[in-house]
């Protein structure tokens, strides 16, 4: 059974619209992450969370909000979507054993902003 799931898998949005990407994990991990993946940039961290109720800014947080209402769920919110946010978004949960954080990724959400 997939331990990290994302929904939707594909999304088309309009510029200025609100987009919510959802992530659910059954690993019981404290840490969760949102990345975007673009050609030439690899994986870039947007937001992360240490547990329910916490959100932290990653390397590229501008234009994004995050919400962690429970251990299992972590959402990424684009309040006013822009074409530059067209990308593939990955959620991950982290098994932080000391300083060795093995991350388990979901299958990704492909977002197109027109």
């Amino acid at each position: 059974e997939a331990a990290v799931t994302q929904s939707p898998r594909n999304k088309v949005a309009v510029t200025g619209g609100k987009v919510t990407l959802s992530c659910n994990q059954t690993n019981n991990h404290n840490n969760m992450y949102w990345y975007r993946q673009d050609t030439g940039h690899g994986l870039r961290l947007i937001h992360y969370s240490y547990g329910a109720g916490s959100t932290e800014k990653g390397d590229i947080p501008d234009g994004y909000k995050a919400s962690r209402p429970s251990q299992e769920n972590f959402s990424l919110i684009l309040e006013l979507a822009t074409p530059s946010q067209t990308s593939v978004y990955f959620c991950a949960s982290g098994d932080a054993g000391g300083s060795q954080d093995t991350q388990y990724f979901g299958p990704g959400t492909r977002l197109l902003v027109l």
């Binding site: 940039h41 992360y48 060795q100 979901g106």
Partner: protein, 113 residues
């Protein structure tokens, strides 16, 4: 500033050959180095990892080497197979905390039968 530099960006090898991917870094607090493998349409998955106290870790056809003095690491795939065709990411994590986790830009590997 790119915390982890990875090369080459893409690589093509023949089936049965040896693949070598390399990464370098500057931050001396990095002490954990995982390699992730990503197939098209999927998320990355942990392939192999190494701690800075070791210089080599092997898992079947995959071996990662770590050179602390030169701040470099590499991934070797022997007897490369078409099924190894994927994008490979090296990553580095700082001993100062798990929020300091950085990925390289990835290497796209194609193994030709």
């Amino acid at each position: 500033q790119q915390q982890v530099r990875q090369s080459p960006q893409s690589l093509t090898v023949w089936e049965g050959g040896t693949t070598v991917l390399t990464c370098s870094y500057e931050d001396s607090t990095f002490n954990y180095f995982p390699w992730y493998q990503q197939f098209p349409g999927e998320g990355p998955a942990l392939l192999i990892s190494i701690l800075s106290v070791s210089d080599k870790k092997e898992d079947g056809r995959f071996t990662t080497f770590f050179n602390k003095r030169e701040k470099k690491l590499s991934l070797h795939i022997i007897d490369s197979q078409p099924g190894d065709s994927a994008t490979y990411f090296c990553a580095a994590q700082s001993s100062t905390g798990y929020q300091n986790f950085y990925f390289g830009k990835g290497t796209s590997l194609t193994v030709i039968p």
